[in-house]
Amino acid sequence: METTTVFLVLILLTVISFLTGRKRSHAVTSGQGGARALHSLPKHYGYMAGLWALLPALTVLVLWLLFESSILASIVKDDMPGELWQMSESEQGLYFNQVVGYARGATDADMLDPAQIVAGDHYRALAESSRVIKALLVFVIALLGALLAIRRIHPKLRARNHVEKIFKWLLFSCSLLAVLTTLGIVLSVLFEAIRFFQAIPIADFLFGLQWSPQTAIRADQVAASGSFGIVPLFVGTLLISTVAMIIAVPVGLMSAIYLSEYATRRFRAFTKPVLEILAGVPTVVYGFFAALTVAPFIRNVGEALGLHVASESALAAGLVMGIMIIPFVMSLSDDIINAVPDTMREASLGMGATMNETIRKVLLPAALPGIVGGILLAVSRAIGETMIVVMAAGLSARLTINPLEAVTTITVQIVTLLVGDQEFDNPKTLAAFALGLVLFFVTLLLNIIALYVVRKYREQYE
């Protein structure tokens, strides 16, 4: 039975349980004055029965679906002859994919060797029985759950409290998902990164000045497994982020100051949303703009001035990234400047200071911690930004701080290492996860510091 059908039947069972539960609540009180004798409304007894039918069965179904293919694969692999294990891990993957493809009818039998066909038939038989067992198991559990709940229905049963408790747990588990996601990120990235560090010493990774993962692609070159020094990537990332900040901070900050201190209400109401469009533009659009419009423009200007500019210069990527971050800096600074109490402004103006003196000598010093926090958040955005640099920055890792040259970044390398067909056995792909780990922790650290600074600052004036 198809999964969709199983799911639909499960929903049907739930509805039937609901109706039965509600009916039963009437039945158990027939001699005692009807529904008034019940603790809860009849529909609550129905909900209870329905939830008992749905939730356990749904949990089983989801778990079954998640683990089905990996368990099937491991059973079939175990039953296959030993020759399979003499291949390299990537060939094994390919070989086994053919087996699965054959079992699903996607690959023709004449392309495969006999062992694969045997395994494929085995896989298909297993998948068939898995499908039957899955459907049966789900229905039996749903029926059992419903039966248990319906049997318990009694006028004194506090069905509403019961249902509400279940709902509260459901709500709680939904909010727990945030923690699970973080945990999932940390574990998945960490797990692969540890496998990477078994091949490449962690010190080489953190302090190496060379990044050229491509040489590791050949399996026979185990000794010369490429160099994985993250320093050039880090420098490249920081270079592009710095360019972005040089654009975004003055423009964003000055716009925020102007809009909150000088502009008329009408001008502000028009300007803010328009500038915030910049924040809503997808990053892939910025990437396209950077690669096809800004980079050639900068190159032409540079050549007219007699400078050598790479066609994928850090300047182009940084400039466009800066444009992207302007509204981010602007709205953060705006919040922070508005949080400075009016009494401070009025005191300064009352002493005869001009508006700009008030801003520079009173508002900005008071808002400085908050602004620094906002800038840190913006830096973390810039470091984690992917599409702009993938499309407009270079691929080769050069250790330079000249913004006219092409540099590469951490995110670019993650994408280039992982896009396309890949196996999970060589340092090349695992390196991407190590980079992801670094990226995650750097941005996390920046965010924690920034949030701490901003919160401390807010408390100061509350």
């Binding site: 293919s69 998902l177 102007y258 892939v284 994408v415």
Partner: protein, 432 residues
């Protein structure tokens, strides 16, 4: 008078008065810096939009060239009474080539002929085939057909090739330009609205590439994202606002949500790759996995905005409901959520808009494949609009630059619609 003014100039008032001019000048300068900053933002936005629109607009038209083709059964390789299959696989290309040669009889030599054939798209034969399949009576007669022009030829007809540029710099050669000029003078070229762009999938030929597959992929992915992120996000927000006790666990959850909101999107892609594809072995390139990953990514946005909306519900509503004997959950479901719903929907739509424009995590889970077939469900391989833009942006042909910009215009159109709807919702319910 002169005697009097001299000692006065030494008083502090005069010193201040003298410095005032400087201070006011500085004030004016400062204001101008502010205006300049706002203006810079505007200019950037304008350049960005103008660049995309000017590059993308030509992609919505497609040029056609009228060719007179002799559908002689002999040229087509057809028997006297052709079946439908035979009609389907007949040699239309040969007939078209013969037609072109007949129109320009003085073209000779392999290279020149090839240039001549390149005036028309590789898809022209399918154009012709479809027309013949619609009306098999065309066979055996010579008639005029409007056939799709090649992207490079179309680019010349759209006036995108500057006159006088050296021949080596462009794909349209001088000979082809002469032919095209002649065709245009004879009224044999025509510009039409490019429906192919919306009805076809990806293609190697720019003039045959379309965004239909990407649109379907985006749709399926967004549906999955919404089905997961909306209920879970709202539930989490309700729990944190209405039920959560003040304890360590709640704090941990809140810190996690705030941090997840700032995790780079590509890290979610790594999570999707490691957990859903490698561990659970869900299908690669599928909207299902894409939707799950994007829903994890948009959850923090939805939770944070939903919490703000729930917080904004007046406590008197809660107290009234509790006062007449509703339970906590009934209060929330029957009274708080309906009032907060516009705010929650606004936040969710903004979250969905974010997900629609996102591409980096989807690259990680393999949604970058070249896909020509419209996906039929959430487990079929698909690509999404932003990723299609990314793929086309990488193609060197000029025709693809145009298509990329046009796809961006479509994407931005959807984003503007979604955001406008969110603003409309907010405005409409704020007044109540």
């Amino acid at each position: 008078m002169n005697n009097m003014s001299k000692p006065r100039s030494a008083t502090p008032t005069d010193a201040i008065r003298a410095s005032l001019k400087k201070r006011y000048a500085r004030e004016r300068r400062f204001q101008w810096y502010g205006r300049l900053a706002v203006l810079t933002g505007f200019v950037f936005l304008f350049i960005l939009l103008a660049d995309i629109v000017s590059k993308g607009t030509p992609a919505f038209t497609q040029h056609y060239i009228k060719v007179s083709v002799d559908l002689d059964p002999a040229t087509l390789g057809l028997p006297a009474e052709p079946s439908r299959e035979q009609l389907y696989s007949a040699d239309y290309l040969g007939a078209i080539k013969a037609g072109l040669r007949a129109m320009f009889p003085d073209v000779s030599g392999r290279k020149e002929k090839q240039q001549l054939y390149r005036l028309l798209s590789m898809g022209a034969e399918y154009n012709l085939r479809d027309k013949v399949l619609d009306d098999p009576r065309l066979i055996g007669h010579s008639s005029e057909f409007w056939l799709r022009a090649h992207a490079e030829a179309g680019s010349y007809l759209k006036g995108q090739i500057p006159a006088g540029s050296p021949e080596a710099d462009r794909k349209v050669k001088d000979l082809q330009i002469a032919w095209l000029d002649q065709l245009r003078a004879e009224g044999r070229t025509e510009s039409r609205f490019n429906t192919t762009f919306f009805t076809q999938g990806d293609s190697r030929e720019p003039e045959m590439a379309g965004i239909r597959v990407a649109l379907y992929g985006s749709f399926f992915t967004l549906v999955v994202t919404f089905l997961i992120a909306f209920p879970i996000g709202v539930s989490a927000a309700v729990y944190l606002e209405e039920f959560a006790p003040r304890n360590r666990l709640t704090d941990l959850i809140e810190i996690n949500i705030n941090n997840l909101a700032a995790v780079p999107s590509i890290v979610f892609g790594l999570l999707g790759l490691a957990v859903f594809i490698n561990f659970f072995e869900l299908p690669r390139s599928a909207p299902l996995v894409g939707g799950i990953v994007l829903s994890l990514m948009t959850l923090p946005t939805i939770i944070i905005t939903s919490r703000a909306a729930i917080q904004a519900v007046s406590p008197s509503i809660r107290q009234a409901a509790l006062g007449v004997g509703a339970s906590k959950l009934q209060t929330v479901v029957h009274h708080v959520l309906p009032v907060a719903m516009p705010g929650i929907l606004t936040g969710s739509i903004i979250g969905m808009a974010q997900a629609l424009g996102e591409s980096a995590p989807l690259l990680m889970i393999g949604m970058v494949a070249f896909i020509m077939e419209v996906p039929g469900g959430v487990t079929d391989p698909a690509t999404v609009l932003p990723v299609q833009i990314f793929l086309w942006a990488d193609s060197p042909e000029r025709g693809f630059t145009e298509k990329t910009s046009a796809a961006i215009m479509v994407l931005m159109g959807f984003l503007i619609l979604m955001n406008a709807f969110a603003i409309f919702l907010r405005r409409r319910f704020e007044r109540k």
